[in-house]
């Protein structure tokens, strides 16, 4: 499996631009290839989860903080959209960034008391925060409609063009995913991205090199939460009906499994993870809730055979001792010589 992935990587490295162009064109014409509506719905989900899993990957994969409560931020974004658009009729395009900002603020609130925590303790707190958000959404009936949820969330429209079919939402989610990937790829190649990665690798050393770890840990959390909020805000009008059961812990683990299966600390990882997990969800529909057992097994097998994930980078922290760095260093030595 490793050799196959390496071969793919090599071809990709040689024809990067061509590769990306082909992928973009394929994605653009995909909905016109005569798929059933249900198939297009699955594609929508895959694209939505690309961004959502990607936002979690920003936290878990790049700064090494272990958040498993991404569903909470997702929930904040979705409810922001649902409440403000049904009650005040505010435009989708204003609420989309606002959902992200609301989630970002909640991310800040969660991250401040947890700056000193890491590993399993941090994950427990984020899990708790996610549940708290869901339970508030369930019980604050006057605002969120409680267990009845919120119905008839208006579809977004732009200049008379109504985004109302799964096919149109497909493009909305595609644009979101592309924007997310573009911005994130810039951020991780910057000073802030390097600071995040230094915290992932070794927090003490990062401090000794004058990286203000608290600031960067909080900003990383906020960045991840922001994109999860955006996803929620875009997902609510797609479903048109949301209630608190959409944002349970299962959802959080679902997102986490995409990140782990795809590969933490890479931009492509969550995309692959999202495609695979959503595909499995559909395939395994006949076995009902047993599919969760399959996910668990899949995660365990992944941890065993390929801890860095399917497309995981060799520099991923989870890759552990399985890295073949020799060939890489030889190549680098040749280049510099």
């Amino acid at each position: 499996m490793n050799t196959l992935i390496n071969a793919v990587k090599k071809v990709y490295g040689e024809h990067k631009v061509l590769f990306l162009a082909v992928i973009v064109v394929l994605l653009l014409i995909l909905p016109f290839l005569g798929f059933k509506k249900s198939t297009i719905r699955i594609m929508c989900r895959i694209l939505m989860y690309c961004t959502l899993a990607g936002s979690l990957n920003m936290i878990n994969g790049y700064s090494g903080q272990t958040c498993i409560g991404q569903a909470g931020f997702f929930c904040i974004g979705a409810y922001t959209m649902a409440i403000l658009s049904t009650r005040f009729g505010i435009s989708f395009w204003i609420l989309l960034p606002l959902g992200g900002i609301m989630a970002m603020l909640v991310g800040l609130i969660v991250s401040i008391p947890t700056l000193r925590l890491k590993g399993i303790y941090l994950s427990i707190i984020t899990m708790g925060a996610s549940e708290v958000i869901r339970i508030v959404a369930l019980n604050w009936e006057s605002l969120t409609g409680g267990s009845f949820g919120i119905k008839d969330i208006p579809r977004p429209s732009a200049g008379g063009f109504l985004v109302d079919s799964p096919m149109k939402f497909y493009y909305l989610f595609l644009i979101l995913a592309v924007i997310f990937l573009f911005i994130s790829s810039r951020v991780i190649r910057s000073r802030a991205g390097r600071a995040w990665m230094s915290i992932r690798e070794d927090e003490l050393a990062a401090k000794a090199l004058s990286v203000q770890t608290s600031y960067y840990k909080a900003s990383n959390f906020m960045y991840g939460a922001f994109w999860a909020g955006i996803c929620g805000a875009a997902y609510a009008p797609y479903l048109q009906y949301i209630d608190s059961t959409v944002f349970s812990l299962d959802e959080g683990f679902n997102i986490l499994s995409m990140v782990i299966i795809g590969g933490q600390g890479t931009l492509a990882g969550p995309i692959v993870g999202s495609a695979l997990v959503n595909f499995l969800t559909e395939i395994l529909r006949p076995v009902g809730t047993w599919r969760f057992v399959t996910y668990a097994l899949l995660i365990i097998i992944m941890m065993w055979l390929r801890p860095q994930g399917l497309v995981g980078a060799s520099d991923s922290i989870l890759a552990g001792g399985r890295i073949k760095m020799k060939s890489k260093s030889k190549k680098a030595a040749k280049e510099s010589a």
Partner: protein, 263 residues
């Protein structure tokens, strides 16, 4: 020659354990200052106090006349003390270049929005970081390893990467915690030459080391700690002859003293 780092009666207690007790010293600009002492003498604790990882229980630490006793490590590092660690704390899964780039964090200011929109500040910063890191890597003689994963390098080279990373912050004073630990004699000699060359270029260095040959040959001034207390301070010649130092290292006997004189 102004003072760079000065401590006044620094103490650090862990409950009843007096790890560092009333240590005062002054490191002047352009010096290589060595701290030696038997195992458990409190050398690393003293380092941790100087670099802000521990707060001193009593006493003060001054950097270029400025009181830094209660500051956080990242602030102290920003002001000009950069340290390396006894148990190397490299970013193992990043390349040497990326490691050194993080050392340049201090000299740059661009934020997330600069990165998203590729503003002028971002471009200036990135250019500065790349140039500076490559320069530092070259200075440390690591050019051929620049794109290698740091964790896969030999031990001696890893030590050097850690020093290079610290140098990228342009520190007023460089703190090296046992830089030669675990090195073979050849690597130790290389390291000594490297440290001396840095010093010739004006870098002030404070180092902890167990290798007597290393310390005696390269330090201008030496501080000896035992059980957290300062027992001697002075040039290598003074320290070698000091009876208390000899007693601490070899017990008080004729033979012990002779061994040290041969080092």
């Amino acid at each position: 020659m102004g003072e760079v780092l000065r401590t006044e009666g620094v103490c650090r207690y862990f409950g009843g354990l007096k790890a560092v007790e009333n240590v005062s010293m002054t490191v002047n600009s352009g010096q290589i200052f060595g701290i030696i002492g038997p195992n458990g003498a409190g050398k690393t604790t003293f380092f941790n106090v100087c670099s802000g990882i521990y707060k001193p229980t009593k006493g003060r630490v001054y950097l270029c006349g400025r009181d830094i006793s209660n500051m956080r490590p990242e602030t102290i590092s920003r002001l000009g003390i950069t340290r390396t660690f006894q148990s190397m704390q490299l970013f193992k899964f990043m390349t040497v270049l990326e490691n050194v780039k993080i050392g340049c964090h201090k000299g740059t200011k661009s934020g997330i929005f600069d990165a998203i929109f590729h503003t002028g500040r971002y471009k200036r910063d990135e250019e500065y970081v790349t140039r500076k890191s490559l320069e530092t890597i070259e200075k440390a003689g690591l050019t051929k390893y620049a794109y290698t994963m740091a964790g896969s390098l030999p031990y001696g080279i890893q030590r050097r990467v850690e020093i290079a990373r610290a140098l990228a912050t342009d520190p007023e004073i460089l703190l090296l915690d046992e830089p030669a630990a675990g090195m073979n004699p050849m690597e130790t000699v290389d390291l000594r030459k490297f440290v001396q060359e840095l010093n010739r270029n004006g870098q002030t260095i404070l180092l902890i080391e167990h290798d007597m040959k290393f310390v005696m040959n390269c330090c201008h001034n030496i501080l000896v700690l035992n059980f957290g207390k300062k027992i001697c301070e002075g040039t290598p010649e003074v320290v070698k002859k000091d009876p208390e130092v000899q007693a601490a290292y070899f017990g008080s006997g004729m033979i012990g003293g002779e061994v040290l004189n041969h080092a």
